[in-house]
Symmetry: C2
């Protein structure tokens, strides 16, 4: 283990809350904490992994900062592998600031992003894939992404890479035997035999890339913009779904210039609902920008809610949307049924096979109906995308696997014409990729880049 | 202890972070957790106040939700006095959601605001004053407010109230002795004697009310609006203090319609800097509202930054501010020294004894100068307000103390003419106030109101 500074950071979410955790790691952890915790005797005699109550005090002015609980973890039996403490204090921002600034005065350094996990990795407590999985578990925006990360955390990626490595090593042995004993086909097996093995690995890798693509579509969570012409009831509908009066709703045209969005949980899924600018003819530059943004939202989202008034004819701009967007992406909502039954529009949507409901947004009871409508649609998307969770959970991993795939594709396609020397060279390069993937090759820049994507306190 | 539902809640701050704590309290805590934690054997054999590593899994589909650590607290040796668990999980929002929803499916109820602390209070683990202090420690916006809360947490209020109670009880004994033995002045002491004692208590209570008033001025943190006429450089100055480009800055008049604010730490104090709408003549309704808000900000704040251009004459509206605001509240900043040396305005401010600096806001180096200028001023305010931390840390407490003060004032002023019966009656009412203050009288509505001001998870 290298001699490093002792670090500390708030490891829980920001903002006032009941509790907060401050983590401390490094050689001087216990020595410094002994100066800050009362009763000192209790701290000194406390055992590892036991939680005890202390006064955390400023040993410069002897004032108590907070009553806390704290847990000792002795090296190497800690997350980082170093001596560590977890302090659970009251979760007020000022309390946390006071405790951290007290620790800094005692000679502790503020941890950098991901520094705890980086130390855990550098000290051999976790491998790179597990470290990356932790980052993904914390940052995941959808259940799918989180599922992939949890399986990666469990070692799925490692196992698969190990399997590939063993297979490639065996092929390499065959291949190199052929270089040394070019005539003994009967002992070693023909070229055909190992190129088939290479093709099997290629298929396996290709499957992972496909899985990754599917997962990427839901990885960043589901977002559904509400689309319609000005005054169709978009903001009222938005508020109904969100559940409270969030956006200014009034009857002048074009009030929602900027897209406003809120996240809601519908059917256990986190869904971002976006209120957009009405699609209408306009010369106002700001409104034009709003409309451009609306189209941007339509193109980026997996689905849209298309809202239209029961009491008005189908507008040119409304037709435009129905034509531009794939039918299975559209959720039709016909509003203002209190003014008109909306027969004509119902007919249009039926003919186009677009699912729809007819509602009155001034009616409070309709919220449930709308939510169920959205929920059913979301379940359909999720199930459609339901697929085996692949092993790839970060961009770095995806890039390496792609690189490997291209190499192996090249070998498998040209095996007949390539000499054994070239094949064995390429296979060795793939083994290198695998070593990089699982973190056996430690490039400091890459390592720093990976942990820089973490939050502080992790 | 009453039979209550088993509750759970996220107790740390929201948003993705390295770690999060989920608290569970109630009779079924261990029974339910045994169903969610693997290895079960480890959980069942784990001792109180030891932290162990588990898989938290969904026992419906047997999928692992997260790898967590957890601590057992057995009744009555827990915060709430009930059986309790603290789960430390990865701090991703989805992880937390999954774990909590799993607990809810197992029959646990989501905790209400302050419900953990309320149970601690109802189970006699902490008294009301300590419970209120916890709430204040978490919510405090300034070091001062936090200091008061910490002393309250340490029992300062309780001790003082007990002292008052004992004194009043002794006076009451004297007073009631006089009712029973009206002639025995020589044994009991004269009326004068106990009215003097009452006056002493009055002085003591009055001091607390005065302390409270002083603390209230800094309690909500220091806020400093930046005031000036349109185009004086308010937003540029704001950005300079905040340290990044936050507000749209351009050269048309009147761009900051709404007040924008950011909190910065200057000299260890959290200060809210407010960018305001320029004070100019306008007929635009929205701008008028902005200007009204600016005046509102001037009146509410303890200080203002008055920014003016070196190269322009003193504007009528600028004079208006200098006249309307107390001189020791004003921080003068003369901007655009690159265009003019600002001699005239320097002279004006010197004459008015208003501290000032002359800067160029296009110059990046001037940030430090501005910060030091603000810091010095803030230190002056803080030191001016430096006073003994009183015992009163909530509005409820303030109201009761005020009520007590009025009663005791009344007695001490009219003691000569009031009969002993009335005095003793009034003293008994004050004892009642004290009992209410420290929570000996438990009114359910009041209790609910107190804990409703807490956050969820506390």
């Amino acid at each position: 283990m290298q001699e490093k500074e002792t670090i500390a950071a708030l490891s829980t979410g920001k903002g006032n809350a009941a509790l907060a955790i401050i983590r401390i790691s490094g050689k001087k952890t216990f020595e410094i904490l002994a100066k800050c915790l009362k009763p000192e005797k209790r701290f000194l005699s406390s055992k590892e992994k036991e939680i005890h109550l202390y006064q955390f005090y400023n040993n410069k002015n002897l004032k108590t900062i907070d009553e806390i609980t704290a847990i000792k973890y002795a090296s190497p039996r800690s997350f980082t592998g170093e001596d560590m403490m977890e302090i659970i204090c009251h979760g007020g921002e000022i309390v946390v600031e006071e405790i951290v600034s007290c620790l800094l005065k005692e000679g502790i350094t503020l941890a950098e992003k991901g520094e705890f996990t980086k130390r855990a990795f550098l000290n051999g407590k976790i491998n790179l894939l597990k470290a990356e999985a932790i980052g993904q578990i914390i940052q995941s925006n959808s259940r799918k992404q989180y599922g992939v990360a949890m399986e990666a955390y469990g070692g799925k990626g490692e196992k698969k890479l190990f399997k590939w490595k063993e297979k490639i090593k065996r092929i390499l042995v065959d291949c190199e035997a052929k270089i040394e004993f070019p005539e003994e086909d009967d002992i070693i097996g023909g070229k055909k035999e190992y190129t088939n093995k290479i093709k099997d690995i290629y298929k396996d890798i290709e499957k992972e890339i496909k899985n990754r693509k599917k997962i990427k579509t839901v990885e960043n969570g589901i977002s559904i913009p509400i689309i319609g012409i000005a005054n169709a009831g978009k903001s009222t509908l938005f508020n109904k779904i969100i559940g409270f009066e969030r956006v200014l709703v009034h009857h002048e045209e074009g009030t929602t210039r900027d897209a406003v969005s809120e996240e809601v949980i519908i059917g256990g899924e986190r869904i971002k609902i976006i209120d957009t600018a009405g699609l209408s003819e306009t010369k106002d530059l700001v409104e034009k920008m709003g409309i451009e943004k609306t189209w941007d939202n339509i193109n980026k989202s997996t689905s849209i809610i298309w809202v239209t008034q029961a009491n008005k004819e189908l507008h040119e701009k409304e037709k435009e949307i129905l034509q531009a967007v794939k039918k299975d992406k559209i959720l039709g909502i016909i509003s203002k049924k209190d003014l008109n039954n909306g027969k004509k529009k119902v007919k249009t949507l039926k003919e186009m096979k677009i699912p729809y409901i007819v509602v009155s947004l001034i009616n409070d009871d309709e919220r449930e109906k709308i939510l169920i409508f959205v929920k059913k649609h979301v379940e359909k998307i999720i199930n459609k995308e339901e697929t085996e969770n692949g092993i790839i959970c970060t961009k770095r991993q995806e890039e390496i696997i792609l690189r490997m795939m291209n190499k192996i594709k090249n070998i498998s396609e040209k095996a007949e014409v390539l000499g054994e020397e070239i094949i064995s060279h390429e296979l060795r390069l793939i083994l290198n990729d695998i070593a990089e993937y699982v973190g056996e090759i430690k490039n400091e820049d890459i390592i720093n880049e990976i942990f820089n994507q973490f939050c502080i306190g992790k």
